[in-house]
Symmetry: C3
Subunit: 402 residues, 3 copies
């Protein structure tokens, strides 16, 4: 079976996961302006909206029509036209509220470093979701802002460090993130670069301009992350065409993980198609954790179980986290949560049914991966009692710490 | 379930796929001479016929005995001895006719570049299949023919281009193909080589002789393909022991795909075990398409669904094509078609049963991948009306455009 | 289904596999001292025992509690505390006897090269298992012993060769093994190094000390293995954090396999997550065989079928072997055997049920992979008649050839 069997929603693991409010440890805001068809379709895909090939004709498009349409009062599998018309009719705020509420997310850790001007703020996201938002600081954005402000090659390292320290000192920041995967990949010299190397590389970058993509500066960024002391999220695997997939196998980081053992937790985000490689690292390095975000909403519930099953083959149950990596569309917040709940629920329930796993163990694994692991790692407060009790009623009135 | 459940043939997606006449966008001819056991076994494997290890004792051997034997009037799972005896008794022409007819292929795009003297021509293949054949020009064969005819280093580039233009100008040619995967792998400098580089490399190759395997000339071949303007098929992944598998991950082509965006469609053939990497490229590059040919008959219906499921995790439904990559044995034309129909049928029907996909959507995906995508891409005519109606009767009288 | 359905134990393939005494062609001894919780947990994982993350909270920990607890007279899914208390109460000898007997292993090929002083000898292991033990000589340990004894750079090659010849001349030695994967990975120059290269590299190593990890000496070791003429086992893929996973893709060995074709059999051990790459090599190189040991007990019966299914997609059925790669804990001898039997049984029975495979063929594949392939490859004697008859009674009185 690719998806859970019908009637599965009455089974105990599915029930527990349905009632659990999730910690989404890596997501983004949603676009605050109204979207026309082209705007919506371009957000629906990691590719682009190509002539003659609708992004709706894809696994994620099918999942949106199946699982999101009913929340807009449409029948399952509604047509793209009907879907977009109804979406426009309801308006962005109402659409976002419906999906974010239905996602059942208690905590959102929001990466604010990619085109924040188009997106809702963490506070707005938390309000719509009826949860609490924290912030994840994207270090490349910090470095690029330092460069944009004007800095000399010689003062780049100090300037970046100061800006990063300031950024992570803001209220609500719980982690930093790097998109080294997009810039150089992971096939880097693992050693901390010297001051001279950084100054030389910074001089070249500042003269050249553009994104931070110099291998020395990317290494310097990763080592600066180590100094900051916060958990470090690393984009891994699947993304848009800027990725060179063969250079983002996370096991390319092995030497660097040896050098940084005992320092900060490293969270491998998304990972597909390298979920097994990420699982290996999580099994042998104390500091490594993983999720299969992004993939979850792209493949939908039809394949989330299969991918979670690979990710969990050898991963210690304390090492898997949930993220949606939703970006731009509130649909992705919902689909990520749904794919995680249904995929993990089916996987665990099946093992319970085969007596490979006891029900109490399955419920512990569900609770850990859906929230407890993230709460422990980021030092987040325990959920409010009504959430722990697995309340299925509407969440309490929206509030955000930010 | 690894294969479709019994009784599955009565379900709508399976029925539709069973009634659909396929477009096999990449295959080869069949051996026209009678084959003894050694000859048959050596074609049955991508390895060789080794002492003490019969190629029949493999997934493809089991699939032949299970699915091909009944078409030779033998019981399912007939012994290799009975199978070969009956095959010889019927004779090559009758055997080929039975398998090619049963494959239900409407269009065959035939790579004529590998040992064509042993194989049936596209016209013969089309006649036996009751379909229409088109030709795929293998560019390495064109280049090697130019070298064999005698050419100077300085005139190689022009001579190759002229010969390629002439080849693709022949009636019925719809695509070109490269086996760069076999020659250098994909870890190539993505840039178009300069004239001087090509002349120098051609001089060395012409002096040395042998197959075209120089990295500069392989790059030049790929860029010449871009100039020709036809869809470019690229062998990817699984093949014989000439492959260096770690050098044929298709994501090694990412830089080249960026440079050639907006030019020719690129069809990644076979792809296993890199079907997820190929799917990523198809999801983020407009010009990239894929199939899981070759694998289909090697793994048989027992695993085709699993591999198609990985290939389709994120692939836009307009981007997957069907090919058998059958070579030498008509059994492979049948097995490829059967594995595709059963694997895709099981995958889609299961999603329909789980209400993850609507039946009309499932039927559209089946129609697209089994033929419409290829027809659109290669500019092939629409199928005759009786085929569109899903006729299950014998195909009309054999005809070929070649 | 991730595991076999309940009631599956009454089906013929499962029954046959349950009654088959296995050949475990690669395993290790078990720790002979009593283990406290920390000692047990550190053996339970390829990582380490980390504060706050119990190795019991992992797929292998769950499998131990599910499948091993009942053999210690505890309920299924017993708590770690109860499990460890009962294990201590029974004592190491009784615990080992129970698990090794229950594993139903007829022949154990034991790698004696890693910390043998902590572990039971092959003879002790055979006695506890009620089977016969053979020895596998780890060549890196031989080389390091030569270096430790004192040798000059110039005499290293001869000294190593003499020591290796002596080691493989011992009674009961059936194979050699290399852990090149741990030392350099497989991205090596495939050519046999020259005498001068070896002398120079040996000089540097002897001066530097430490483990044998020089690329020239690792190549020399692999070529020495070829000269020895015995089957060569190669650790591949999953292991502890010394592995650089991206350098142990077995297809990196392709050039070396071409150069050594026609010499010794090469057994790719474990392979995960490269089981498909290993299968490709087994399909195209006569001398290549594979197993999915180590993985089997780490993933447990819940996922062994899925991994075996990938390993068997294209692997000739004469090319897959069984190993547990159990190390330290007798639990792993049991879990490896159980995961293999249940995973392979489910996979084959399902194909029989779908009529993709005949029952006699399924039983042959089961017999080949569970023992016959290894017996043929290592030249082991046929099993005693009662075993061939599939006796399910307790094995005969313990005996060992060593």
């Amino acid at each position: 079976m690719s998806g859970p069997p019908r009637g599965a929603e009455t089974r105990p693991v599915h029930e527990a996961l349905a009632a659990t409010r999730l910690v989404d440890h890596h997501c983004h805001g949603v676009v605050t302006d109204a979207l026309d068809r082209q705007g919506f379709e371009s957000l629906l895909t990691e590719g682009a909206a190509w002539p003659g090939i609708s992004p709706f004709d894809s696994p994620v498009g099918v999942a949106v029509r199946r699982h999101c349409a009913p929340l807009l009062d449409l029948p399952r599998h509604a047509s793209p036209e009907d879907y977009l018309a109804r979406r426009a009719e309801l308006g962005v705020r109402e659409v976002d509220r419906r999906f974010l509420t239905a996602a059942g997310t208690d905590v959102l850790c929001v990466d604010t470093g990619h085109l924040p001007e188009r997106l809702s703020t963490p506070a707005q996201l938390a309000e719509a979701a009826g949860g609490t938002a924290y912030e994840v600081v994207r270090l490349e954005s910090v470095a690029e802002a330092v460069a944009a402000r004007g800095v000399t090659a010689r003062s780049y390292a100090d300037g970046f460090r100061a800006a990063a320290l300031e950024a992570v000192g803001r209220t609500g920041v719980v982690a930093v993130k790097s998109v080294a995967a997009y810039r150089t990949g992971f096939d880097l010299d693992p050693a901390r670069p010297t001051e001279q190397e950084v100054t030389r590389a910074a001089g070249e970058w500042l003269a050249r301009g553009g994104r931070l993509a110099d291998p020395v500066l990317v290494r310097h960024l990763l080592w600066t992350a180590v100094d900051l002391g916060l958990p470090l999220q690393l984009h891994t695997g699947f993304g848009d065409s800027d990725i060179r997939m063969h250079r983002v196998d996370p096991t390319l980081l092995t030497d660097w993980l040896h050098l940084t053992a005992g320092t900060v937790p490293v969270l491998l985000l998304h990972c597909w198609p390298y979920q097994r490689q990420a699982a290996y690292l999580a099994a042998v390095f104390e500091q490594v954790y993983l999720d299969v975000g992004l993939t979850l909403h792209h493949v939908g519930p039809a394949r989330s179980r299969a991918i979670l099953a690979e990710a969990l083959e050898i991963t210690p149950f304390r090492k898997l986290l949930y993220s949606s990596d939703a970006y731009g569309l509130a649909e992705f917040h919902l689909l990520g949560a749904l794919s995680f709940r249904q995929g993990l629920g089916a996987l665990l329930q099946e093992r319970v049914d085969a007596d490979e796993l006891s029900l109490p163990d399955a419920l512990r694994v569900a609770a850990w991966t859906s929230g407890d692991n993230a709460r422990r790692l980021y030092g987040l407060p325990a959920p409010a009692p009504s959430h722990q009790a697995g309340a299925t009623e509407r969440p309490p009135s929206p509030e955000s710490m930010i």
